[in-house]
Subunit: 341 residues, 2 copies
DNA sequence: CTGAAAGCGCTTACAG
DNA sequence: CTGAAAGCGCTTACAG
């Protein structure tokens, strides 16, 4: 690729030294206004674009942030990335986006590649398969700015953005109980995830508060294969210990449940009520019956992650990212999947 | 961020020159196997990672590909990006992903920023608002490797990947006609897009072949606001010239149609049949009634774009990307939204 | 087979 | 207010 004119050529054209031109373009106080004007207008005329790698090499920063997510085909993660981009773009940052496909090995490879400084910071949501976190520990111990959201890593002392998962699990379960459910199944992606644990804690506490006994058989851990998930759920729904309510901690398992129900004689909400963490509201209301949802503020989460990192990266002498958990609340929207008319 | 050890330090540790170490790591034929082994093992021990910017500066390539899409909250575009990543990751390439949000100004800004060599190539799908293409022409004329998919720019002589849009439009319309539709509405995002034009041509030809007259009032151009789209469609459905069939050239307009129908007394498929370009098959079959879809091979499209670029970028002395249109066929899946039982 | 030197395109401490 | 020089960390033509 032929990059256009470089600093030296621009300087020659202006009969100035590269030093002066560089300073003028970077709006240094050492340069007269007259020179700055001349330089800037010539730079525009010749369409001068500084070489980003020369600059990165020199300044030891890349103006790039890496985003690592477990999947792209998810409204939630797409919205988070949109939120991140909204903030970072304004500050001239670029986004490298990587998808782990819920695979720790891929996650490790990606994280290790990022160790070389290609990005100035990482914002990530870990894969559901992640239990060994040595790659993340190493990254953080090297002083690499790292922020987690949603699928956070509690053991790593940095800033994490989550939603009020305990409360959502509690309130979601309570809502099902209020609608008459007595046997409530909890669908999850992985027991290892801290958000799953939180949501599950909320679920258990709501059961206990209502005097219901938690039944481990009603907890289903799902996999990556949609068809397999549908079948596990179908079996649960047609088995001896059949639930009358489902709390799904993942968007895709709500869809799998709808598919599973279609393979039975059951009717939502009469025979089975369902509430799910779900981001795509347009689709939630088109499902049949429309789905009661717990919606996380995905866009805001992205924005907050980005704002924090931009502050850290653009202001001089910023301290390390504080070891704290920032909670942005979700909201529940009740629709037909939990209400018998 | 503290990058680890550099080449010079690694060389010192090995009591070799940086030149030799560099060559050994790059597996040069000039270096003895013994030395290579020593170097590689020490590099691993010290966890040496070459500085990507020094390398990019030196070699004038970034090992990065930029992807520019009009929206992230789309199953189609997400899958394409997944396909691109699948191929590029294997070759050590990184992906900068930018979203234009269907806004030409944002698109121009992004494209102009990419002019400086931050990425070695661009794969993009233009915004529905794009009519002035000077930014793209300039990019291409500078010799920048550029590939289009789906929302292509016919005027720019490079490789474009599309689906058989004319045929899909034709077959989709024909299917509606066979199911008894006589007044078929065509929903689109923008008349400017070449894929819209192709799909629309197919639609018109199918009408003509069936002896039906194309009615311009049955062509609806939509916007970015979901609510606004729903209302335009609702008005169409309740107006004097009410359609009995809809061909939606965009996923989101199929959803808007379902929402619009819910605001009327109409029943799908009895009063209105609908077929749509749609990528999320799990959701298509959960809609009520399930949606007849035209599905584009999104993942393959991504893979093909990436394969072409990788070939161009990794092999020496490759010619310019050929000015050709490569068609990968879509497939139609008939579901309940077009079939009266 | 190995090394010394130049250079990719910037920025900035140092000098004037 | 401006310029000459050094250096960021690599790779590779040149020399031996």
């Amino acid at each position: 690729m032929s990059t256009g004119v470089n600093l030296k050529e621009l300087a020659a054209e202006l009969k100035l030294s590269p030093s002066t031109v560089s300073r003028a373009l970077n709006d240094s106080y050492e340069i007269s206004e007259a020179t700055k004007k001349k330089v800037i207008s010539m730079a525009e005329k010749l369409n001068y674009q500084p070489n980003p790698f020369a600059r990165s090499l020199r300044e030891n920063k890349s103006k790039t942030i890496a985003v690592v997510i477990p999947e792209r085909m998810s409204n939630f993660f797409s919205k988070v990335v949109d939120g991140i981009e909204e903030v970072t773009q304004e500050h001239g940052y670029h986004l490298l986006v990587y998808c782990t496909h819920e695979d720790v090995d891929r996650e490790k490879k990606i994280v290790n590649l990022l160790m070389n400084g290609r990005a100035d910071a990482i914002v990530m949501s870990v894969s559901s398969q992640t239990s060994d976190i040595s790659h993340l520990t190493r990254l953080h111990e090297r002083g690499f700015p790292l922020v987690f959201f949603d699928r956070i890593c509690p053991a790593i002392p940095t800033t994490k953005f989550i939603t009020n998962d305990y409360e959502s699990g509690f309130e979601g379960t309570k809502h099902l109980i209020q609608q008459g459910c007595r046997k409530i199944a909890f669908l999850m992606l992985s027991k290892e995830l801290s958000i799953t644990k939180e949501r599950h804690r909320g679920y258990l506490d709501a059961l206990r508060q209502a005097g219901l006994s938690p039944e481990p058989q009603l907890n289903i851990t799902c996999c990556q294969e949609e068809e397999e998930n549908i079948e596990s759920i179908r079996k649960l729904l047609t088995g001896p210990n059949r639930p009358d309510g489902i709390l799904s901690s993942v968007e895709k398992l709500a869809l799998a449940t709808y598919h599973a129900v279609k393979r039975t004689d059951l009717k939502i909400p009469n025979d089975l009520k369902i509430i799910s963490f779900f981001s795509n509201l347009s689709i939630a209301s088109l499902l049949n019956p429309s789905l009661t949802t717990i919606t996380q503020p995905a866009f805001s989460i992205g924005e907050e992650c980005a704002k924090l990192l931009i502050k850290k990266l653009t202001k001089p002498r910023q301290p390390d990212l504080p070891n704290q958990v920032i909670t942005i609340p979700s909201h529940i929207t009740i629709r037909s999947s939990t209400i018998v008319l």
